[in-house]
């Protein structure tokens, strides 16, 4: 076992990363050791990245212990770069973290300075001066290259700056020079943010943290109001919203809610979150309150102005939309479903169950498919309830070859058939199921007790020796 991280006290005692644990213990028997948990470290870093969302939406993870914040266009909101850096470091230190930071125009340079130098802001013309005294490891290159360069007597970045480039590239590959150029800001480097940037976003910073659900909703409504001009400018309404709540101790909650049609109205947006908050009630621990509240529009769609006066039925349609939104926000979109008709003779394929959110207001059949779908609707006898998976049944006596079962056993009960209608033959869809998929013969059966079933025989007697029977649905 080796040491992977040290606090400043341990560093001062002369311990090093990578040192064997036994050796370190031999030097300092009273060493306090905690086993490394990489997953937990990662979670913690992600939580910090979430917290940093308050400064910029573009936050990326760097390595195991670093964060990149792209603050282009954000610094003035916090009183300039210097004030911003000071505030970030101060607040993180207040949380009990030991943090260093640097602001520069190149991510590579910031990373090098933050890890190997004091926290500072580096101007546009100071890159070489700052970089030169740093050790080579600051360039984010692998250990083998660092050791190889050390053998040649190149130990600081400044040594590389003066060395000719061609031999370096020949001996150590282009990665070294790429990293050097990136650190100098000569080569562009893009950071990959953890989350997509919201289309629109509005936030409220609070002097006094809020805890109560009602206050949160009231604020959400106010923030939603300030999103409205942005949505209007785009001629759009939001379909998926995200409410981000920053708790005072650094924890960040994200609540997502979808709407069944594009929304602009602040009250309706707030209502989505009213349900959502009720649902997460127990998980949303307000603690000492939330200090920042942000509302993002993750997806928006064209806002239909006509929807308000739609055949004079507006009230009903809107309230159906409200109901769908309310339920979907509370229980998730899978809870409430509606259906779509498909062009298929297979009963289970003719209907597709889809979330009501997002589908309830779309026209059900496609225009060109309409006559066929109508056929599917008005055609044969279909059961009231269809089993999700056809259930096998044991047919004792069958009218061979084309007839219905006369006695059968299903769910541990024996049924005696007294009337039967059929068969309705439905051939398999060879373009989906393959050419040798068996044909089904459907029968409507009525038992002596009055129950009515829909069963089918999979396969024909002249093709399969002993075709099996399935229960597929029940009639009224």
């Amino acid at each position: 076992m080796r040491l992977t991280a040290l606090d400043s006290h341990a560093e001062n005692m002369g311990l090093k990363r990578g040192q064997g644990l036994a050796e370190a213990r031999a030097i300092h028997p009273a060493l306090v050791m905690v086993e490394e948990d990489e997953a937990a470290d990662k979670r913690f870093l992600e939580a910090l990245a979430d917290w940093c969302d308050r400064y910029t939406p573009l936050v990326a993870l760097e390595g195991r212990d670093g964060l990149f914040l792209n603050i282009t266009g954000c610094a003035h909101l916090f009183g300039g770069e210097e004030a911003m850096l000071r505030e970030i470091l101060l607040r993180l230190e207040q949380m009990g973290l030991e943090v260093k930071g640097a602001i520069s125009s190149a991510p590579g340079l910031s990373s090098a300075v933050a890890r190997f130098d004091a926290s500072q802001i580096i101007g546009e013309d100071e890159h070489e001066r700052v970089l030169a005294p740093l050790p080579l490891a600051a360039l984010r290159i692998d250990d083998a290259t660092v050791q190889g360069l050390a053998k040649l007597g190149l130990k600081q970045v400044g040594d590389l700056l003066e060395a000719p480039r061609a031999p370096l590239a020949r001996r150590f590959g282009t990665q070294l020079l790429l990293r050097l150029d990136q650190a100098l800001g000569l080569d562009d480097e893009s950071i990959s943010p953890r989350r997509p940037v919201a289309h629109l976003s509005a936030e409220r910073r609070l002097a006094e943290p809020v805890q109560a659900e009602d206050d949160i909703l009231e604020l959400t409504s106010q923030v939603a109001q300030s999103l409205k001009p942005g949505l209007e400018a785009r001629g759009a309404g939001g379909r998926v919203f995200e409410l981000v709540l920053f708790r005072v101790d650094g924890k960040v909650f994200r609540l997502k809610a979808g709407a069944s049609r594009p929304l602009r109205d602040a009250a309706r947006i707030a209502k989505l979150f009213a349900e959502r908050l009720k649902d997460v009630h127990d998980d949303l621990d307000a603690g000492f309150g939330f200090e920042i509240l942000r509302l993002n529009v993750l997806r928006h769609e064209a806002f239909d102005h006509a929807q308000k006066d739609f055949e004079g039925e507006d009230e009903r349609h809107l309230s159906l939309a409200d109901f769908v939104d309310q339920v979907s926000a509370r229980f998730g979109p899978e809870c409430l479903t509606t259906y779509q008709l498909r062009e298929s003779h297979m009963p289970e394929r003719a209907i597709l169950s889809v979330p009501a959110l997002g589908h309830i207001f779309k026209p059900v059949p496609m225009p060109e498919a309409a006559p066929l779908v109508e056929n599917a609707l008005s055609g044969k006898e279909r059961p009231l309830r269809l089993f999700r998976h056809p259930e096998p049944l044991e047919a004792y006596a069958v009218d061979v070859p084309d007839g219905p079962p006369i006695r059968f056993r299903w769910r541990r009960l024996t049924h005696k058939v007294c009337h039967a209608e059929g068969p309705e033959r439905i051939a398999a869809e060879w373009w989906l199921d393959g050419e040798d998929a068996p044909t089904r013969d459907y029968f409507r059966l009525e038992c002596e007790t009055g129950q009515r079933f829909w069963v089918y025989r999979q396969g024909l007697y002249d093709q399969i020796a002993n075709p099996s029977w399935y229960m597929h649905g029940i009639f009224a």
């Binding site: 309230s319 809870c335 169950s353 059900v364 599917a376 279909r382 006369i406 009525e446 009055g450 029940i474």
Partner: protein, 305 residues
């Protein structure tokens, strides 16, 4: 004299309070309304007539639009009849006002008794434009959903399916639902698969059992023997204002979308149809969809010259 009048006033007030608690129309008002419009008593809330006179009479004028009607079966094996009768009632409600329908079922029932199949529902007579199906995970969620659906007033009818008599769905919950239904004027149909009789706020409770379907009617009015025509339900009205239990067979005619009472004597006669099974009583598949083509197909040959 004045004391007497005061006492009478108090009695009237009490009577009105009791009537209101029981959900009945106020006696004085009802008398006035009956004389005015010639309606039967009970005009204070909207009712949907079932079309079967003696059933309507037993139901005080029809199914309540703002209240709970409970339907109960002996078990999941009768799920077809139970859902069928519920759908038939839903159809009656929808005929009065064409609005969407909401079907709430728990996951257990949905997997054991199957999911409502819109094509079949359409064939049964329902309008399935905007048919919603909800399957919440917990009973509490289902109750919340039913309440929200009732108070929104969007749905022509809300179906609420439970299995047995769950502990968390007792008198208090059903009272809540009943108040919601009453406030919004929308019906709630509770389907209890394999449930016991239980105290609830439902205005009426039916016990539903399947019954042999009536045969298909031929154009000349005769019946096609051996066929499975309109569904028939064997109902027992277990809970109502009228003390006498009522048992009847109702047929659902999905073409006309109406319930027809079957004459018990005729029914008894029709039971004498031979039910002993022989292969011959079942249809021979003569008119199947793809009969063998006749031999000697005519081919259009090309002209020789």
């Amino acid at each position: 004299m004045a004391k007497n009048a005061l006492a009478q006033e108090t009695v009237f007030a009490l009577r009105e309070t009791i009537a209101r608690l029981e959900g009945k129309s106020l006696p004085a008002l009802a008398a006035a309304q009956a004389s005015q419009a010639g309606h039967p008593a009970g005009g204070d809330e909207a009712r949907i007539r079932t079309g079967v006179d003696f059933l309507d009479e037993a139901l005080d004028g029809g199914l309540p639009c703002g209240g709970i009607t409970e339907l109960r079966s002996d078990g999941l094996r009768h799920a077809g009849a139970l859902s069928g009768f519920a759908m038939a009632l839903g159809c009656l409600f929808q005929r009065a006002e064409n609005r969407p329908l909401l079907w709430i079922s728990d996951r257990m029932t949905a997997s054991d008794a199957g999911l409502p199949y819109p094509i079949g529902l359409k064939r049964f007579g329902l309008s399935i434009h905007r048919f919603l199906h909800a399957a919440p995970n917990r009973l509490e969620d289902a109750l919340w959903l039913a309440e929200a659906a009732l108070s929104s007033g969007i749905f022509a009818a809300t179906f609420f399916e439970v299995r047995g008599n769950p502990a968390h769905f007792g008198l208090t919950e059903s009272r809540r639902l009943s108040l919601r239904a009453k406030a919004a004027g929308r019906p709630l149909l509770i389907l209890r698969h394999g449930g016991e009789e239980e105290a609830s706020s439902a205005l009426f409770r039916f016990h539903v059992e399947p019954s042999l379907a009536s045969p298909r009617r031929l154009p000349d009015g005769s019946m096609l023997g051996g066929s499975i025509g309109s569904s028939v339900f064997h109902l027992t009205l277990e809970k109502s204002r009228n003390a006498a239990p009522l048992s009847l067979h109702l047929e659902w005619n999905h073409h006309d979308r109406r319930l027809i009472a079957l004459d018990p004597t005729e029914r008894a006669f029709s039971f004498e149809r031979p039910t002993a099974l022989s292969g011959a009583s079942l249809p021979k598949a003569l008119d199947r969809q793809d009969p063998a083509p006749p031999l000697g197909a005519v081919l259009a040959f090309d002209r020789a010259s």
